[in-house]
């Protein structure tokens, strides 16, 4: 009974990819904000990872440098305050990003009301529509997340090299940075999916008769 109409997964991917490709510049705007937010997240986190990695190296030259720039070598109150502030800023930037994504996706749904209504007239179930929107958002989130993570990591690494000299490059904790980048990509994709949830539900509830309505 449930197999009366079907949309194969490969076809949904194809439709989602085509939608993004044709509306490339518009989806670029949301993706840019996602890239920047994820880059910021990666930058702060990777920065922390790098300083910790340098500390763990126990090289006296670095410890002196770190103390000079005000980074407390032993954990203390000032460090906690700084990291709390950091966390707030990162959280706010991610929040702004999600709000931007929700807005952009809602606009996209409103713009495509005729397309959605037509697809339903051709026999699409509500969940096909949701599926297409979710795949689109996942693709944008993944692309934005990967670019953002790479950007953030690069900036963090270059910043530490500039600050601590070329010698510090050998102490960079690559595996920790890798893990950070991975979590950042997941966050980016997750945010994108979170932002598309409400608009996708709105799109699926749209009546096919909307497609018929002609604006006089």
């Amino acid at each position: 009974m449930r197999r009366l109409v079907a949309l194969p997964l490969s076809k949904s991917f194809q439709m989602a990819y085509q939608s993004i490709r044709v509306r490339f510049f518009r989806s670029l705007v949301t993706t840019t904000s996602l890239i920047l937010a994820v880059a910021f997240l990666t930058f702060t986190q990777a920065g922390n990872d790098i300083t910790e990695g340098l500390l763990a190296a126990k090289d006296p030259a670095f410890v002196q440098l770190l103390a000079k720039i005000g980074y407390e070598v032993t954990p203390g109150a000032a460090n906690q305050a700084r990291s709390a502030k950091q966390r707030w800023i990162v959280f706010l930037s991610l929040l702004v990003c999600v709000v931007g994504i929700v807005n952009a996706q809602l606009m996209s749904v409103t713009e495509r009301f005729r397309e959605i209504g037509t697809l339903k007239c051709l026999g699409a179930l509500d969940r096909f529509i949701v599926r297409i929107f979710i795949i689109e958002a996942a693709m944008q989130g993944l692309a934005g997340g990967i670019i953002g993570a790479l950007l953030g990591t690069m900036v963090a690494c270059s910043a530490s090299i500039v600050r601590f000299g070329l010698a510090s490059a050998s102490y960079l904790p690559w595996s920790t940075i890798g893990t950070t980048a991975f979590y950042a990509v997941c966050t980016g994709t997750g945010l994108s999916l979170l932002g598309v949830l409400y608009p996708a539900i709105v799109a699926s509830r749209m009546q096919p008769v909307e497609a018929m309505r002609v604006e006089q």
């Binding site: 009366l4 079907a6 439709m15 051709l122 026999g123 009546q207």
Partner: protein, 246 residues
């Protein structure tokens, strides 16, 4: 007299729209029977309830009271899956605004209903190309709607409506956005294909050019069926329609 199958049966349908303070009674009791294989035009002035009746027949809206039977199945009783199946396999839609998916090529637009119906990709592409040939757009398969003229877009829409060989084609003002000659082409195309494939065509229209090809004309006025004219009764004079003034 052989009883031809009644593919669409509308009994006592009324429709009221609740607009907050006022209730608009758009359809005030429609009874209609449409035989299989005929070309029906539903005509009426603006605001007569033509489009609302059309939406009822097409399963896009539910009547306030009364029943609509498509192939003797009461469509109000269908759940979402069965309704989707109906729209996919049994009914083909043609819109005034063409309603092609702008991000897809002509061929992809035509094969969407086939994908929903579970047809394999190769079969879908083959049938899609055949349909494009039948509507006279060979060679335009890779073009997007933005690269096609209005008449060509409507031809793609006609091909799409025929994708799953439906029993009924519903056309809502198919020539509304087209000029005179292109409109005539589309009407001729619809008539040809409907004869060849034995499809029932129901079109809601203002366009008097439709009358030449219709087997039956249903006049709607003010939410009621004013009169139903068979082909023989239509008296068409150039420059106007005799019965339209009554």
């Amino acid at each position: 007299m052989t009883a031809t199958k009644k593919i669409v049966r509308v009994t006592g349908v009324t429709k009221n729209f609740d607009l907050g303070k006022i209730v608009v009674n758009v359809l005030k009791g429609i009874d209609l029977e449409i035989e299989e294989g005929k070309y029906i035009s539903i005509m009426g002035p603006s605001g007569s309830g033509k489009s609302t009746l059309f939406n009822m027949i097409g399963g896009l809206d539910k009547p306030t009271s009364g029943k609509v039977f498509i192939d003797e199945v009461d469509i109000a009783q269908l759940d979402a899956y069965e309704l989707a199946w109906l729209r996919c396999r049994k009914i083909g839609y043609i819109f005034q605004t063409f309603n092609l998916i702008p991000v897809m090529t002509a061929l992809e637009n035509i094969t969407i209903p086939m994908t929903f119906a579970g047809v394999s990709n190769d079969d879908a592409l083959r049938r899609g190309m055949e349909l494009l040939d039948q509507v006279g757009l060979t060679g335009r398969h890779a073009h997007r709607p933005s690269e096609l003229s209005g008449g060509q877009q409507q031809r793609v829409a006609v091909a799409r409506a025929l994708a799953n060989s439906p029993a009924i084609i519903l056309a809502d003002e198919p020539t509304g956005n087209l000029d005179l000659t292109t409109g005539e082409d589309i009407i001729r195309l619809l008539k040809e294909l409907s004869l060849r494939r034995k499809v029932t065509v129901i079109s809601a229209t203002h366009d008097y050019k439709m009358l030449n090809v219709s087997d039956q004309v249903v006049w709607i006025r003010d939410g009621h069926v004013d009169k139903i004219q068979q082909r023989e009764e239509l008296d068409i004079k150039t420059g106007g329609l005799e019965s339209a003034t009554h």
